[in-house]
């Protein structure tokens, strides 16, 4: 067991583009599945059976192993009413918990603000990848964005250390806060300051890290390896965010979708193995989601934008199993040909915010939503 009990940590893994729920967790005992998926469905014998009715798609072997250890919760039928079926809009809704208007604050950024209200640690939340997902965007909340841990730093090209120190000193003065600046200038200044401090702190992570676990070469596995390094360096990061793309399988789904899930399954498995090797990770859960599921009936070579989807929670702190109900595939129960969500995504966030982080979820998810008992 580990030596110290640490603060709760979350790793959010976004499946960008609309993951096909029905080809991820497959209702294999239902004839309607095979009827609706003549072109991009799996054969009964290829599906990894989980129980008498549901199975994982063939590329999810490593996830199934963790499932058997009781570490994977599958959250069924997740979504929200009246899916706009637009990537853009739907991802915004998942990020901001605002289905009716354009939100400006992200739920994970709000969690970071609650965790570190006085901005004592610029590394409380980190996105691994390019850009800043709206889920982490909250004015005044510093979020580091690290596309590659190995090359992270400011004015790293100045080789003379004395000269670089002077340049960094000037930089810190130029980016110090001012009175009466515009929103954009203030944002630039705080981002620059945080970037400099964060880069300085985070450079210890690769130095402290050594591991026997070999991660695959996929982009998502490399991000997860960077996350493991920063987590194990004890820098106080509590919200890790990363994504994998593109799950927008309108066409060519039969080739693309298993490749994506192979990347995810192998990467996630290596990540948890790495934590285990280092006797740590009991305070880490991972949460996987996508902006919507896809249409029940395939379109010949892929599937179009749908509504209800599936989310996963993984980790030692998770009570493994199936949660909620798979929405009906009966034609009469579909809306515009799509599975109807029966569980609000903000309930899944509420579970994390209250039962994992011990905070009041209402102001974070914009309301009160039913929790799901998938955490220990």
């Amino acid at each position: 067991m580990t030596s110290t009990k640490k603060d709760p940590v979350i790793v959010v893994l976004q499946l960008t583009g609309g993951n096909d729920y029905m080809n991820t967790v497959i209702p294999y005992s239902d004839p309607l599945y095979y009827e609706n998926r003549p072109n991009v469905g799996y054969k009964m014998e290829d599906i990894i059976k989980v129980d008498d009715n549901l199975g994982f798609m063939p590329a999810m072997g490593p996830i199934k192993e963790m499932y058997d250890q009781g570490k994977v919760a599958v959250i069924h039928g997740i979504g929200y009413p009246d899916s706009p079926r637009s990537h853009f809009r739907s991802m915004d809704i998942w990020h901001t918990c605002e289905p009716d208007k354009v939100g400006t604050e992200g739920w994970a950024g709000r969690v970071a603000r609650e965790l570190d209200p006085n901005k004592e640690n610029v590394l409380t939340a980190i996105n691994f990848g390019h850009g800043l997902p709206r889920a982490l965007a909250v004015p005044g909340v510093p979020v580091a964005a690290i596309s590659d841990l190995g090359t992270y730093g400011l004015l790293t090209g100045i080789s003379d250390q004395d000269q670089r120190a002077k340049a960094l000193d000037l930089f810190s003065r130029m980016y110090s806060p001012t009175v009466g600046g515009s929103f954009v200038t203030d944002y630039l200044r705080s981002t620059g300051t945080e970037a400099m401090i964060g880069a300085d702190i985070v450079k210890v992570a690769p130095e402290r890290y050594s591991s026997n676990v070999e991660y695959p070469s996929s982009a998502i596995a490399q991000h997860l390896r960077d996350i493991a390094q920063v987590y194990m360096a004890d820098l106080g990061t509590r919200v890790f965010y990363t994504q994998h793309a593109s799950f927008d399988t309108h066409a060519g789904e039969y080739a693309a979708h298993p490749a994506l899930w192979k990347d995810i399954s192998e990467g996630v498995s290596a990540f948890f193995e790495d934590l285990k090797e280092h006797n740590t990770g009991e305070n880490v859960i991972m949460y996987l989601f996508s902006e919507f599921g896809r249409r029940v009936r395939d379109n010949g070579s892929g599937t179009d934008h749908g509504a209800a989807g599936v989310a996963f929670a993984i980790g030692d702190g998770v009570k493994g199993g199936m949660y909620g109900e798979y929405p009906s595939r009966e034609a009469k129960d579909l809306e515009q040909g799509d599975l109807v969500p029966n569980y609000d995504f903000r309930g899944a966030y509420t579970t994390i915010v209250e039962d994992w982080f011990g905070m009041d979820a209402t102001p974070i998810v914009n309301g009160n939503f039913e929790k799901m008992g998938y955490l220990k």
């Binding site: 079926r85 850009g131 964005a145 981002t191 066409a251 070579s301």
Partner: protein, 466 residues
Amino acid sequence: MSNKEDLALMAHLMRRAGFGATWEELEALVDKGYDAVVDELVDPPADRHGGKAELLIRYYPGCLLPGGNPVMGQANWLYNMVSTDKPLEEKMALFWHHVFATGNSKLDNCDQMLTQIQMFRELGMGNYQELILELSKNPAMIYWLDNNENHRDAVNENWGRELLELFTMGVSNYTEVDVREASRAFTGWTITPKLPRQPYGRYPWRFEYREADHDFGEKTFLGQTGNFNGEDIIDIVVKEPATARFICRHLYNFFVADEPQVPAWTIEPARDEEALDNMCNVFEESNYEIREVLRFMLKSDFFKEARFQKIKSPAEVVASTMKMVGSYQFPDPGLARICREPGYMGQDILDPPSVEGWHTGSEWINSGSLLARINFVADSVNKTDLPGMQNIISRMKGEGITTPDELLEGCLDSMGFLALSDETREQLSTHANEGGNLDWSDEAAAAERIAEMMALVGATTEYQFA
């Protein structure tokens, strides 16, 4: 000697309507006169050429048909950005790439991406209806939004939806039924040949209309009923006032000043409603000629007054820095490395994150991308032997720049007549004064001082704006 204010205004125009210009180029342009320069930008004279392809092919033959190699595709385009003599044509190609965001992540075919970009060069300043019709026949777009899977008996809504949501009217101006009907009208609009990659390799795609796969049934679209084909849908949708507003707001956001992100457009008023109205009027009165909106916009006071009101996109940061230091005069041996820089700053050209393109403005900035921007400029100006840097240095020497404040001023002017806040100016001036006067008797040391000062100017918040 040109007046400094004229030079600064011309620098503004060339940053927005191109990828920046050197001091010498700005002086020549000021002599021509502002309005004449705008007219040449929107109507390039016949003797102007695009990117210097022959040099690119000699040094980077893989750039011509990069196939599945995105780096070579990006190198091709970036080189065109910095070497073109028709800067606005190239900038408009980037503009349409932002709006009609198509990505190699799905195509795995940079040849087709570059063909699409070439189409934007040729039609990007022309008639909007012609452009959108050509777009709906563009093989990269057809494949990107799956219209090759949109069949008479199995409608795929991807292209039909994005045509309305992202390329013409914007959300909330149409119904789900309109999406369905538009999609039906584009059934049979496909590409050929559809040979698998293995074992044949990549075949160049071309548009094909398959009558047998087209749904000839009656359709009702935006209140009109008829036996519509794709051309009819475009004819109807282009004339919608929502389309003029949507496209002009995109132009304003790209060329004039940062607007909120696109999803907020149905809710947030425009930054300058009057300017937007005027642009829409010009667009509609000219029968949807993009060129005329550009001409009007670039000559307007609202444009001239919008100096440094936009955060530079990563492509702008990289291309304008390359132009400044002159690493483009023949393809830089590091081109294959440099062309990845916009991606490190959050803009993988030829590979936007999704069909909605990139979020712009302050969303370009996060701690990772800001570090990448600052580091790139610093590393570039540090190469003092590059021809652009040599020009800057010898010009400063020729003008007898000696004192620390003259040094700072010379660097600001060399970097696009950048305006600084009093505070930043004082901090940079203090730093410059600590180093004392420039000593031209040791030219290498003087060059290093200039490079250092330019790197620090490049690290200011002010330099992040165009």
